[in-house]
Every structure is written in C-alpha cells, then in structure tokens.
C-alpha cells in the first residue's frame, strides 16, 4: 500500500477522536437545537478541562486575551464603521476567534501565515499591533501597510504575515508557494494558510492541495467553515458536506474540528504541525465555526434567522473557554474582568492612534508600484 494511503487511514481515526474527545463524530453542528447546543456545550467543556490542565497558564491567559481582544476589536470596528470612519469592505471575525487563536498560537514566530480578507484578528495574533491594524482600517499613514491596503490587506514581512487577500481562494495557491519556499530553502517553517469554506469551490483549492501532497509541502490548510459564502449557505453551494474529506482525494491528512473549542483547534493544529515538521507533509483542517455578523458590514443578513444565530451563540467560543478555565480553577471572574479591561483599553488606544494618525501624503499614491 502506498505510504500516503496509510496516512489517510490513520487520520480518519484521528478525525473521530478529535471530533469530541470521546471517539464520536459530531454530527451536523448546523442542525442542533438550543437544548442540544447546551448539552454539547457541557460535553465540550469536559474535554476542554482535560486539555487545559496540560497547558501552561501564561499561554492560556494569552489565548483568552487574544480571543477577547479579537472580539472587542471587531465590535469596535463595527461601531466606527457605522460612524463612517472605515470605508470600503469590512469583514468581521466575531464568532470565529477560537480558530485564529487555536491555530496561530500553536505555531512559532518564524512560521508563515496567509489568510483571506477577514484578516484583522489573524494580523493581531501574529503580532501586528491593534493600533496599526485600526489605523489601516481608517486609511491612515500609521496603518500596517501605510493606508494602501485597508481592511482586506494587512501585511507584515517582519512578522511573517503574508497578508490578507481579496480574491476568494487566491491565497491558497500563494500559501502553497510559501511552503514551497520553506522546503526549497530547507527551513523548518510551516505555513498556515487560511480560507473560508466557499473558497473550496474554487479551482485553486484543488490545484494547490494536489501540488502540496505531490511535493510534500509543509503547509497546513485551514478551512474556516463559517457555513456561509457571503449569503449562500454551504448546503446551497457544495454538493458534499464534508470539506475535510476532500483531502482524501489527494491522499492528504485531514481533520474535522469544532471551531467553537479553542483547545480542540489547538490540539488538531499541533498534530498538523508535527506532520509538517517531521516529514514535510501537508494537512487539511476543516474547522467549523459560525460568523455572528454579516459577511461584511454591508450585509443585512436576510438569508438566516435570528434563532439560528442565537443557537450558535449558545456555544460561544469565549464563554465556553472562560467557563472551562474557571472550572479548572485556572482563572476566576476577577481575572476575566481584568483581561476584558485590557482588551478594551487596547482597542480604545487603537482607535485613538488611528484618529490621530495623519492621512497618507499625496506623494504616496505613486510609491511602491515597482521596487528598485
């Protein structure tokens, strides 16, 4: 039997184990009713407790802080967007924080990250300051790309953050190339390549996964399945339900992960990193979450009901993580208040910085078209 086929078989088992910690595959997260959601919340908490006990306290605090900061920051974005401070498109991450934090806080500083246009929170987790992200949203000189990219295009070469990209799926191929470069140069960097579930229907997804497995590239493909491609649900756009299983067509390792559970996301990412660093092979993670807000700030959300959103909020990743941390006696309400306060202060400082930062000089129009 070819080696790759064995890998697939092994990961099928891993999929089951990781799904809810007791070997039972989670069925249809988008079909649960409120009561079932509450029960799942309890089951998830039990599995989180075990993971929390094995994790460094400082790291847990930073994970919670980044999740809360992501939430507060994006809420503030919505607020200032409505005030006309932010122009263009503005895609918020609210509801998906456990994915960014669970994956990106499992990698090293040297590892590379690339994502779609829903990029504010990933940019901050990689180390870009909330100030320069907010200033970028404001189209100001102090923005991380000098006001020339806006919401969809945060970058930092220094921090190995290869950008937010605006063409659905385009970054899947670019991320594959980043992993190609790591292998070529013989560094042990891994690449985290994020995209939404709707990008999976683009040809570039299939072209990239084929090459990554063929050439054994250290790329971790992270499908953030928030269940809607703009206003079209996955059910109305994809002939098959499982995205993780699409990797099997390429004989690529894959896992389905509950994206409301930051510890489960972290565990799955660590397994993928080991695979990437050990023998350079790629993984596809399908991490299912739910975006509470519209596709962008201009989306009224007529395609789904309030009940559906509430159902997911029953399983909110931040509430879940806090309750688990509390039950594990790692942190208490006072710690949570402090963390929340820090996040609010960081967000307010970001807004202040953005407000005060000047607009780019008119001469900036013609810079950075070509490099010497």
């Amino acid at each position: 039997m070819p080696k790759a086929a064995t890998v697939t078989k092994k990961t099928s088992t891993a999929t089951k184990a990781s799904a809810n910690g007791n070997g039972k595959v989670t069925k249809g997260l988008d079909l649960v009713d409120v009561e079932l959601a509450k029960k799942e919340f309890q089951a998830r908490k039990t599995s989180q407790l075990a993971a929390i006990k094995k994790t460094d306290k400082g790291l847990l605090r930073e994970m919670l802080y980044q999740m809360v900061l992501g939430r507060k920051f994006e809420e503030k974005c919505a607020e200032v967007y409505r005030m006309g401070k932010i122009g263009g498109f503005c895609h918020l991450y609210i509801g998906q924080e456990a994915i960014g934090v669970g994956t990106m806080m499992a990698i090293d500083k040297k590892d590379m990250v690339i994502t779609s246009y829903r990029d504010h929170v990933q940019a901050m987790i990689k180390g870009i300051s909330p100030e320069s992200v907010m200033a970028e949203l404001y189209g100001k000189e102090g923005g991380c790309v000098k006001g020339k990219g806006g919401s969809m295009h945060m970058f930092s070469k220094e921090l190995e953050f290869y950008g937010g990209h605006g063409i659905v799926g385009g970054q899947i191929g670019v991320g594959t190339g980043m992993a190609y470069a790591a292998k070529y140069k013989g560094t042990d960097q891994v690449t985290l390549c994020f995209f939404g579930e709707a990008a999976v229907n683009q040809g570039i997804f299939h072209e990239s996964l084929n090459m990554a497995q063929l050439w054994k590239l250290p790329c971790i493909y992270i499908c953030e399945n928030n269940q809607y491609g703009m206003g079209t649900s996955q059910k109305r756009a994809m002939s098959s339900r499982s995205i993780a299983k699409k990797a099997e067509a390429f004989e690529m390792a894959n896992e389905f992960v509950d994206g409301m559970d930051v510890m489960a996301v972290r565990a799955a990412t660590l397994r993928a990193i080991e695979r990437a660093r050990k023998d350079g092979s790629p993984t596809l993670l399908e991490i299912r979450a739910y975006r509470y807000m519209g596709h962008s700030m201009s989306d009224p959300g007529n395609y789904r009901t309030r009940d559906e959103i509430l159902k997911y909020q029953e399983r909110d990743p931040i509430v879940l993580f806090k309750e688990s941390l509390k039950e594990a006696k790692v942190f208490g309400d006072k710690d949570f208040e402090k963390i929340e306060q820090e996040a609010i202060e960081a967000t307010d400082a970001a807004v202040k910085f953005a407000e005060e930062s000047p607009y780019p000089a008119e001469s900036e129009l013609f810079t950075d078209v070509l490099v010497a």
Binding site: G143, V145, G149, H153, K157, I167, G173, G177, M178, V371
Partner: protein, 327 residues
C-alpha cells in the same frame, strides 16, 4: 561572439542565472524531463536536477500561485507557460496577486518572478493558441513587460528580468526560437529593461516594431531602400513596460513619419499607446498620420491563407511606409 538561436540564447540565460543564484529555479509544464515543449529548457534538468528545474502538473493557476508565494518568501522563480494563451488561466495570480503585492503591502513584499513563454501566432495553431497578450498585461501597473526580437536581446533581457526585483512578463515568439544571431560572451551580459534599440538607422520614416514584426520591418526597410530610396529607421522598444518613449520620440522628430507594426490586435493595443504618445509629444513634427498595422480584429483562423491575411507581413509594412511617405 557566438552565433546562437534565440532558443539557445534563452537557455544560456537560464543556465547562467541558475548557476549564479541558488534561489533561481525554473518551473512549468514539461520543462524538466521532456526538456521543454519548445526546448528552451533543454538539458537543464539533467544538469541541475529536480530542485532547480521543476515539472508541474497541468495547473497553470496553481503553479503561477506557487511562484508568487515562493517569490514573496525569498526565491526567484522563472515560471514557464507553454504558451501565453494558457496564462489566461493564471491571470488572477499575475494581475491580482503578483502585480499588486508590493503596493497593497505598503512596500513590504516584492515579487521577484519571471513569467515566460511564447506569445503571439505560430504555424496554423488557430484561435486559442495564437494570441499576443502584451497590451493586456501592460495595462496593469506593477508588471514589467519584455519582448525580445534577437538572440542577444533574448539572453540579455532574460538575465535582467531574472535579476529584477519585480514581476516580469517575458514574451517570446514561437516562430522566432530558431532565428540566429550573435550573442556577446560572458556571464554578465545584461540588457537593462526599459531601453529601446535602434535596429536600423534611417532618416525618412520610423517603424516601431517588436518581437516578430522586427525582422519583418527590417526586411521591409531593405526593400523600400532598394525600390524607392527611402531610408527607414527601425526601433524595437524591447521592453513594453517601462516603455522607452524618448528613443521613439527622437526618431519621429528626425523622420517625421511613423509606422507601428505589431502582432497583437488593433483595438487598445500597445501601438495605440505609442501613437497617442507621439501625438502628445511630437505632434508638430508629424508630416503624415501615424499608421498602425496589427492582427486582424478576428480570432485567428486556421486556414493558412486566412492566417497570412490576418497578420502583418513585409508587403503590408512596405505599403504602410509608402502610405505615410505619400509614395
């Protein structure tokens, strides 16, 4: 100086740059084991192996994207399209990604990549394999566009393109791969991008030609000289973007007449751009309206006689020069 075909001049450029810089690699369909669909990469895989010369699946968008990502992460890929017609599948990566990356990252991520392969018509390969795409790619800021017409230019410009820190669209011509010319010796023979070349000096009329139309224009110039004693200057911009307008304008100011011969379509072509610039900068020097020769405004037909009819040739260029000289 060695006499080489354009194919071998390109091959030498690739070989020398692979040897010079460990980050340079060639990637594309059939470039390695098969030795290249048009043999431009002949022998390179045998010499350098899988790391430096990489066969890809037939996945133009995918391998163009791998090139862009690899270039962002510090490599210098040379991506071959078997023909530029296939690049249209990869246009998202060339236009939306490579061309924009430096600007939208606020100057942080440059993309040192060369996309290369044959452009324009070949020998009766019909509608989907005969397009000249320079005007299309030249329309997007962030890309350089290069079109050599001699063996020396092919080598010097390809080496300059590989060393350039920006994305370069390098357009070759299938009909020209076998054409021979003298090529200066030495690894450091470079032709800077953005510098036009006067292929033939003259005083009575300027022809601006590029790629395949350069040898046609030179033949037409000889014919006109012999038959009408008209002295034609032939200018090859070599780089479409950035365009060396100064050389063209100076020539027009001297000859007062301009013919532009190109293989691409007429509407919104590079020739139209040059014509406009000449109107803007040398209006008072023109003694006749600028004449443009392009590919017929149809998809390329298969039939040999129709294909010939669609394309510029020596006789059409002669007729155009006669027209602007009122002969």
């Amino acid at each position: 100086m060695a006499v080489l075909t354009i194919r071998d001049a390109l091959n030498e450029a690739l070989r020398e740059e692979i040897l010079r810089d460990e980050n340079v690699f060639v990637m594309g369909e059939e470039v390695a084991e098969y030795d290249g669909a048009y043999k431009v990469t002949r022998g390179l895989w045998k010499e350098f192996g899988d790391k430096r010369v990489v066969d890809t699946p037939i996945t133009e968008l995918g391998f163009a994207a791998v090139g862009v990502g690899a270039a962002m992460a510090g490599l210098r890929p040379v991506i071959e399209f078997m023909t530029w017609n296939f690049s249209i599948l990869a246009a998202d990566q060339i236009i939306n990604h490579a061309a924009k990356m430096l600007y939208m990252s606020g100057g942080q991520f440059n993309v040192p990549i060369v996309f290369r392969g044959p452009n324009g018509s070949a020998y009766q390969v019909s509608s989907q394999h005969s397009q000249a795409l320079e005007a299309f790619y030249a329309n997007f800021p962030g890309l350089k566009v290069v079109m050599p017409s001699t063996a020396a230019d092919a080598k010097g410009l390809l080496k300059a393109s590989i060393r350039d820190n920006n994305p370069v669209v390098f357009l070759e011509q299938e009909r020209m791969y076998g054409m021979k010319g003298e090529v200066p010796e030495g690894d450091d023979f470079i032709i800077p991008l953005g510098v036009a070349d006067v292929k033939r000096e003259g005083t009575d009329c300027t022809i601006v030609a590029r790629s395949m139309t350069v040898p046609l224009a030179l033949q037409a110039a000889e014919k006109i000289q012999a038959e009408y004693d008209v002295s034609v200057e032939v200018i090859d911009p070599r780089t479409i973007k950035p365009l060396d307008l100064d050389t063209i304008i100076s020539s027009v100011k001297k000859t007062n007449r301009l013919v532009i011969a190109e293989e691409s379509h007429y509407f919104a072509s590079v020739g139209a751009e040059i014509s406009h610039s000449v109107m803007e900068h040398a209006f008072d020097y023109l003694d006749a309206p600028v004449k443009r020769l392009s590919c017929a405004e149809t998809p390329m037909p298969y039939a040999k006689n129709l294909e010939t009819l669609a394309l510029p040739d020596v006789d059409k260029i002669v007729a155009a020069v006669k027209e602007v000289c009122y002969l």
